[in-house]
Amino acid sequence: MATIIEMRGINKRFGDVQANRDAAITVEAGTVHSIVGENGAGKTTLMNILYGLYQADSGEIFVNGKKVDIDDPSAAIANGIGMIHQHFKLIPAMTVAENVMLGNEPRKAGLFLDLAELNGLTKELSDQYGLAVDPEALVEDISVGIRQRVEILKALYRKVNILILDEPTALLTPQETEDLFRIINKLREDGKTILFISHKLKEIMKISDRVTVMRDGHVVDTVEKKDTSEVDLARMMVGRDVFLRNAPPTKKIGDVILKVENISAVSTVHKRPVLRNVSFDIRAGEILGIAGIDGNGQTELVRALIGLQKLTEGKIILHDEDITHLSVRDMRDAGIGVIPEDRLKEGLVIDFDVQENLCLGLQRNDEFAKNGLFDWKSVTSNAEKLVEKFDIRTPSIKLLARLLSGGNQQKVIVAREIFHAPDMIIAAQPTRGLDIAATDFVHEELIKQRDLGKAVLLLSLSLEEVMLLSTRIAVIYKGEIVAIVDKDKATAEDLGLLMLGGSYEHIQV
């Protein structure tokens, strides 16, 4: 195999931050080459330099053995390099084909848009790689997964043979991820080279031929996939051993804290049932994990437990007290803390500063408000305490939450909810989009709370995470709890089948 790209001695500095230091990478033609590292390790910067969005302070780039200067993305495209960013650059009001051809449209008589040719070419290209995209659909009407394929088509149309994908699975569902991998394999068969930026180890192990690990701006190592493992990669990324595989076992299980009895609910949008006769209880000192594929009622369950989802029947009992019909405020005052699944939309007010966020939802508690007057002194001291205790990395508690890294934003939420929640913590997708170190932090905190005798309800789309942390595991399918099993008796295969709607009896056989 021939070397198609070589980057040598790349240095790049942003203000006080050395984003790349002497980074070097060699990529073979026709391979899927992953670049992994924690958030801020410099992987996206390195690729942005290759794509011409940034210029390196020093260093050289060779494409097909020839030294090149890449001043801007058009120079990159001329060298056959395309990049698909995490946030797509499409025009929602235009069709797929129009987006693909934008700037290079086929014309009739040099003046008029040749619509037939436009749609035909797009269709042809789409079929060639099995992308199954409708050229005439409006981009605003199609899903995130399909939009990504439109981006891929855009690159292919511009005769790109090296494709950089920046965290392409971050916004995809598991099914869409599968489809993307199929497409990547197809591209590889066709001789394209793929640079795949990610921090999700499972995916990397699945799709890569080679892996380059970055940390603190430099390249730690480049290894063959077949010679490495998830644990090895994690260690190289973080620089130390991580939690990842073994959580300490559950210690002492106490009384029932939360009891959910036969709750049902219908969706406010299409009036279909979203929760059907859900029952379970959670005891002090245990983590009940809820496994399931996205959209099977997890969101509604969380909303029901904090008073945002109206129930058609059933009861929610906290400490022998019926809290079914309490308002959100009263439910939270009764002792439920929640780490919401959408950090930016539900967990934080990102244009509030850190200290204001650290008392969100608690603004009426005696600690922060006396006779309706806001007590800024307690707000500040609370923030200082939590920042210290939970190691939230921020230059100031007056920094807007928007400016924190994803991991630190999540720490703000975790700190607030755990610190102020008396005995019941709901953690919905608590590590979505976090890097390994931050994930590790959240996991450790949840285990700590469990061992302090709190009850924890964990909802996660990652079966691995559920199996790692839970004492017992419930599987939710189409709004129904189809099974609750002890962690020790559960296997990933059985749970996976249940999540897809298989029956338990069938599995027992």
């Binding site: 942003f14 009263d330 939309k345 539900e346 967990g347 939802g361 922060f368 007057l373």
Partner: protein, 360 residues
């Protein structure tokens, strides 16, 4: 290191500097315009400043212009902080002025009660009128920008009708009869328009600052303004808070009208407002939606109104120039993000890459 410090300071307060820069640019633009028509901008601006701040008399008149603008701007700010874009301040202000004029004229009471009651009537009229678009927005999802703009017209014509057909007409000007002495603000500087309503204005600024910054209610209103979903998730009654923001916004707008009526005109004068309600939005924007910032920008816009008079008298420049300046300031404030970007680039030393990183 000193340069580094200055740089940090400039970047930290970039919004403030951008706002100031927008105003300076607007004036520079007007200067060029004057120059190009053969006039002397230095002379014009000289008269302008003299006319606005030159002596006690001018200064007092300027402040009297600041009063309605500032109260109305605070009205807009309180709404905007609670996710309500109240463009209906003009209508609420007109109704407030009429209601207070009626109470000020029709009832006889001792001053300690009559004046506050007059103001209260105006305040409530504005607040109640704002509840219409508030209800439409919160419970019927009607965009408040459209509903409030449209509701300005019924307010104006309702008042017009009342003045012509219901209250007795004294003379030929369409207006309500003069209010009782007990309902008037005292003049602070004889011979000028400046009246004791300034004190009310100061109280309004303090009230807004206190409400937004020092109360749990204000915290909740701001949370709703910035992220409704998160507010709901954390037990804040979003609908109630939005209604309240709208109501308070309308109340303050009504109060602005009442203060102007009881301090300057002493009756409801048809068309007494030169668009205070609309100008207040610009004032609030230039003041970066902060009660304190609004003090400065309201002073600027108040000065525009008085300063331009001297300029028109002593130079050959028509006073309509004020409309032009207003328009240009609005233009530059709308283009603020461009100015801010340039400002940042200038301060940072022109590295586009580091800017891109910053913007992530």
């Amino acid at each position: 290191m000193k340069i580094e410090k200055t740089r940090r300071f400039l970047l930290k307060h970039q919004a403030v500097f951008t706002s100031i820069l927008a105003v300076i640019l607007a004036f520079a633009m007007v200067g060029i315009l004057l120059l190009s028509t053969g006039r002397n901008p230095a002379e014009a601006f000289g008269y302008f400043i003299r006319g606005a701040f030159g002596d006690m008399f001018n200064f007092a008149n300027t402040i009297s212009r600041v009063v309605p603008l500032l109260i109305a701007a605070i009205a807009f700010i309180v709404g905007a902080k609670g996710s309500v874009f109240n463009v209906g301040i003009e209508g609420q202000l007109l109704l407030g002025a009429l209601a207070s004029a009626v109470v000020g004229w029709g009832i006889k009471l001792p001053k300690v009660i009559h004046l506050p009651l007059t103001l209260l009537a105006g305040t409530l009229a504005g607040g109640l009128y704002a509840l219409i678009p508030a209800w439409l927005k919160v419970y019927r999802k009607v965009n408040e920008i459209l509903s409030t703009i449209m509701l300005n017209y019924p307010a104006f014509f309702f008042n017009h009708y009342i003045v012509l057909n219901v209250t007795p007409l004294e003379g030929v000007i369409p207006a309500t009869p003069f209010i009782q002495e007990t309902a008037k603000f005292a003049k602070l500087v004889p011979g000028t328009r400046l009246h004791a309503g300034v004190i009310v204005t100061a109280l309004v600024v303090v009230f807004a600052y206190f409400l937004l910054k020092k109360t749990a209610l204000g915290y909740e209103m701001r949370a709703v303004g910035l992220n409704q979903e998160a507010a709901r998730f954390h037990g804040i009654p979003v609908e109630k808070r939005m209604m309240l923001s709208f109501f308070i916004s309308g109340c303050l707008a009504g109060l602005a009208g009442a203060v102007e009526m009881a301090g300057v005109h002493y009756r409801y004068l048809d068309q007494f407002s030169p668009g205070y309600g609309y100008d207040s939005i610009t004032v609030a924007m230039v003041g970066l939606l902060s009660p304190v910032g609004a003090i400065f920008s309201a002073t600027l816009f108040g000065a525009l109104k008085t300063g331009i008079l001297d300029m028109a008298v002593y130079t050959e420049i028509p006073r309509q120039l004020v409309t032009l300046i207003n328009g240009i300031v609005v233009l530059f404030i709308s283009a603020k993000s461009i100015i801010q970007e340039r400002f940042k680039r200038f301060v940072k030393g022109k590295d586009p890459a580091s800017l891109a990183e910053e913007n992530k």
